[in-house]
Amino acid sequence: MSTRLVTFTLGDRLCGIPVDRVQEVLPSRPRTRVPLAPDDVAGLVNLRGQVVLTVDLRRRLGMPAHDGEQMMAVVFVGDETVSLLVDRIGDVLVVDEDQFELPPQTLSEALRAVILGTYKLSGQLLLALDVDAVAS
């Protein structure tokens, strides 16, 4: 059983989400901040007339803020679309189930809550993000 994952980077981490959960990938655009919203809510964007919530994945994963342009990966979460703010979008990778492993205990609490596990690629680990957990 193999899965296709859209990969992206957050700092020096490589992360991936299933390709069928991704609607599109866009350069980031102006956001409207939402006062009183949880920390990881980066704001709202206008996506062809739809108002879409943007989640700052770095914050969600407890990482320092990024300085510089970021990208948006727009994903389906239930009936809603949510955009995830990431550093850089990478390739679509095909991963195999036997490369998969549950998240190591050493991972920080914040990270473990949103990660399904890791795929052991040659020379690098790919974190499989739990899209539903990230967006809620």
């Binding site: 102006p30 901040r33 949880p38 709202l44 206008n46 007339g49 739809q50 108002v51 919530l53």
Partner: protein, 778 residues
């Protein structure tokens, strides 16, 4: 197979609709058993179901509807009389049909046990042989009404209006009514005789049943996507408007204008396609009331007015449950048992009336019962015993505020919990549901007389007018429904003061509590706010300080991600003309959260004023008094007369008028107001105001018009004899202080008991009267 599925689907949709209609018709038939049109309509519905189900091979469905049909044909042909027993079995039949249809819909065929139902119907049919059974058993009083099913003379019945039909049927037919069976025994041959006029009659009686011509069925999803797309179009239009407005090119500007116009019309048209009469929801109420009343041993009649009032279907859907709850509640807790009602001198049959109407861009739905009313004291005691409020707090509340406690979570005044309502969940859920769609609900009650629950619902959810404002660099939208007025800060008279630490603003003499949007949203203000948006939400009036006001525009409401809904400050978001996103402020929620308790007292809007302000338009009579235009509330106008000046006499320093055999004090409005150029000539227009047997006449120069006065346009210029001014027909018009004008003519006019029974307008009640005049001014 697919085609078959489609046919079945159509059959289901149609049958469900027909069954809803059937419910209504049957309940209506009970109160008007002689209505041939109703009977025919019911018969046709069941007949159609029978026919189609036979064709589609639903044997059980066919079987049960066949038996029902034969019972109905007896009714239709006058061989049987509608009585509660028949009604029960027919309603049960409708339920059975519905259950079978549900099963068919679920793809499980019509494999339902119908034998019980069939047996029930047959029992009714056999239990009372046609005509003779009921005829001999029914009390005499009922006989004429119930037994004149008029089919005896089909021709006589074929009249366009139902009224004459009954009138005519009553008198001559009643004596013959005992023997309808023999006459009607061969119903088939008799029918053809009336075929020519009969269909015409039915078309008039039941419009809308044959709506097939001129209307088509449209998938709701398609409509929804159209609405979305039009929403987008409106956004692009706004954007284009902005670009065109900034440029110089006339051609572009013209195009923009046209686009704007077309987009607006299109938007309106598309929104209309989603509008449905509230009747769709109401139609279920008579049945609900009937069943419930029966179960509780009450006698209840339902009256519905304004069923054609239209609402967006999504809202209709959202209103359904609260409405049902309120109606059930009215029957369960409102209407008393028949003997109790008789004991207090009421007719034993209670009345639940539903009323819907448009007001101020909202739809108002009222559910009124003429039952026992709600005793505020009881409510107060209950609130104390439940620990919701302290006794002191209750003591300080007005009775309407106490009644408002009914909407608190976990409140139920029912002495015993029934399985109908009164489980302690309910009113709070009603309020939550209604507020979730941007509406509001309140209650008015008078002990012994009854209770009115009033829901205000926005016309449509998707697009609404709103004011856009900025605060700390972001744009926010304030829905117009909540907005009362704007006040610019910075002038000498426009300072923010403090009560304790709470900021307040003196608005025309009353203290208006203020909240700073920056503080509410926990933002770092770049500068002090410059504008106060005066809003009213959740029965509280307060000012929201914002940086700048941008625009009043139609915004397309977009839902928020569930994570953001939880914040409880925003009701949605919208895309602005420049492509940016603005959050829509949820003012009722903000009012509840932010207004601290001591300051909330200031914000409390007096109930009376709210009610008045809500119907912000009043009819006024516009008159000329010298060079002034003056508006007189229509409630202070009894009659308009033109009199000859020689009927005016001088009594001391005063003028009186011989009017209808009495001397009536006359006051010249131009003199009261100090206007220039009073009326001349030998005829005079006067406005007569009569109250409790006393009249006064106000002489005016000219009677101009009767117009709707929008209280929101009022300002309170305080001059002698006036209570303010407003803009009517684009001209500044002064609002007459009727009391002082009247006093000028007759100082003792208002001296009687304020509860004067001859004073239906309540004009004698100073407070009510002033509220009427001043609604919105304060």
């Amino acid at each position: 197979m697919d085609e078959m599925d489609e046919i079945v689907h159509e059959f289901l949709v149609e049958s469900y609709e027909n069954l809803d209609q059937l419910d209504q018709d049957l309940v209506a038939l009970e109160s008007d058993p002689s209505s041939r049109a109703l009977l025919s309509s019911i018969f046709r519905t069941v007949h159609t179901i029978k026919g189609t189900s036979g064709f589609l091979g639903f044997g059980n469905l066919e079987k049960v509807s066949h038996v029902g049909e034969s019972l109905l044909s007896e009714l239709r042909d006058g061989e049987r009389v509608m009585d509660p027993q028949v009604a029960d079995v027919l309603l049960a039949l409708v339920d059975t049909l519905r259950a079978i249809l549900a099963k068919v819909e679920a793809g499980a065929g019509d494999d339902v046990d119908v034998e019980t139902m069939v047996a029930q119907i047959v029992a009714v049919q056999e239990g009372a042989a046609p005509a003779e059974g009921p005829a001999s058993e029914e009390p005499v009083a009922v006989a004429p009404a119930a037994e004149d099913p008029a089919p005896l003379e089909p021709d006589a019945v074929v009249l366009p209006q139902p009224e004459p039909e009954r009138a005519e049927a009553h008198a001559p037919v009643a004596p013959a009514a005992v023997e309808p069976a023999p006459v009607q025994a061969p119903p088939e041959p008799a029918a053809p005789a009336s075929t020519v006029p009969a269909p015409k009659h039915e078309e008039i009686e039941l419009p809308g049943r044959n709506a097939a011509d001129g209307s088509i069925r449209v998938d709701v999803d398609l409509l929804d996507s159209l609405v979305r797309q039009v929403g987008e179009l409106v956004l692009v239009r706004n954007q284009f408007d902005r670009i065109a407005g900034a440029g110089e090119d006339q051609e572009t500007k013209r195009s923009a204008q046209r686009l704007s116009l077309i987009a607006s019309e299109l938007q309106e048209g598309v929104m209309r396609t989603r509008m449905q009469p509230i009747e769709h929801v109401w139609s279920k109420m008579p049945r609900i009331v009937r069943d419930l009343a029966k179960m509780l041993g009450r006698e209840v009649r339902v009256e519905m007015t304004g069923g054609d009032t239209e609402l967006d279907r999504s809202l209709l859907e959202a209103v359904k449950d609260p409405l049902t709850h309120l109606v059930r509640n009215a029957v369960d807790h409102g209407i008393e048992a028949p003997d109790q009602r008789r004991a207090v001198g009421k007719v034993s049959q209670g009345l639940v009336s539903l009323r819907a109407y448009h007001s101020n861009g909202q739809v108002v739905v009222e559910i009124t019962d003429d039952g026992a009313g709600i005793d505020p004291e009881k409510v107060g005691r209950s609130a104390v015993s439940k620990g919701l409020r302290s006794a002191n707090e209750i003591a300080a509340m007005s009775s309407s505020e106490v009644l408002d406690l009914l909407f608190l979570p976990g409140f139920s005044t029912a002495a015993k919990v029934t399985n109908v309502s009164g489980r302690g969940v309910g009113m709070d859920v009603v309020r939550t549901n209604i507020e979730a769609i941007g509406g509001s609900v309140d209650v008015e009650s008078s002990v012994g007389k009854g209770t009115t629950w009033r829901m205000r619902i926005p016309l449509t959810l998707a697009i609404m007018p709103a004011l856009t404002v900025t605060c700390c660099g972001s744009v926010y939208a304030i829905p117009q429904v909540s907005l009362l007025e704007l006040v610019a800060l910075g002038g000498q008279d426009t300072r923010i003061e403090h009560v304790g630490t709470a900021p307040v603003f003196r608005l025309r003499g009353t203290l208006l509590p203020l909240v700073s949007l920056a503080e509410v949203l926990d933002l770092a203000p770049e500068s002090a706010g410059r504008v106060i948006a005066v809003v009213e939400a959740d029965d509280q009036r307060f000012g929201v300080i914002v940086d700048r006001v941008l625009n009043m525009e139609e915004i397309v409401v977009k839902g928020l991600a569930s994570r953001l809904k939880q914040i409880g400050m925003y009701s949605g978001a919208t895309v602005l003309g420049d492509g940016g996103v603005a959050l829509i402020l949820d003012l009722p929620a903000i009012a509840r959260r932010v207004l601290s308790t001591e300051i909330a007292e200031l914000a409390k809007v007096r109930r009376q004023t709210t009610v008045q302000a809500a119907k912000a338009t009043h009819q006024v009579l516009v008159v000329a008094a010298g060079d002034r235009r003056v508006a007189i509330p229509l409630s202070a106008v009894t009659r308009l007369e033109r009199i000859r000046t020689d009927r005016i006499e001088q009594v001391g320093t005063r003028e009186v008028l011989q009017y209808r055999g009495a001397l009536v004090p006359l006051v010249r409005l131009d003199r009261v107001l100090g206007a220039v150029g009073g009326p001349t000539g030998d005829e005079l227009d006067v406005v007569v105001y009569t109250r409790g047997g006393r009249s006064i006449a106000m002489a005016v120069s000219e009677i101009l018009d009767i117009v709707e006065d929008d209280a929101r346009l009022h300002s309170d210029i305080d001059d002698h004899g006036l209570v303010g001014s407003t803009v009517l027909d684009q001209r500044v018009t002064e609002l007459l202080d009727v009391r002082s004008a009247v006093r000028a003519a007759d100082a003792g006019f208002f001296d009687d008991d304020p509860d004067d029974p001859d004073d239906p307008d309540g004009l004698a009640d100073r407070a009510a009267f002033d509220d009427d005049l001043l609604a919105g001014v304060r």
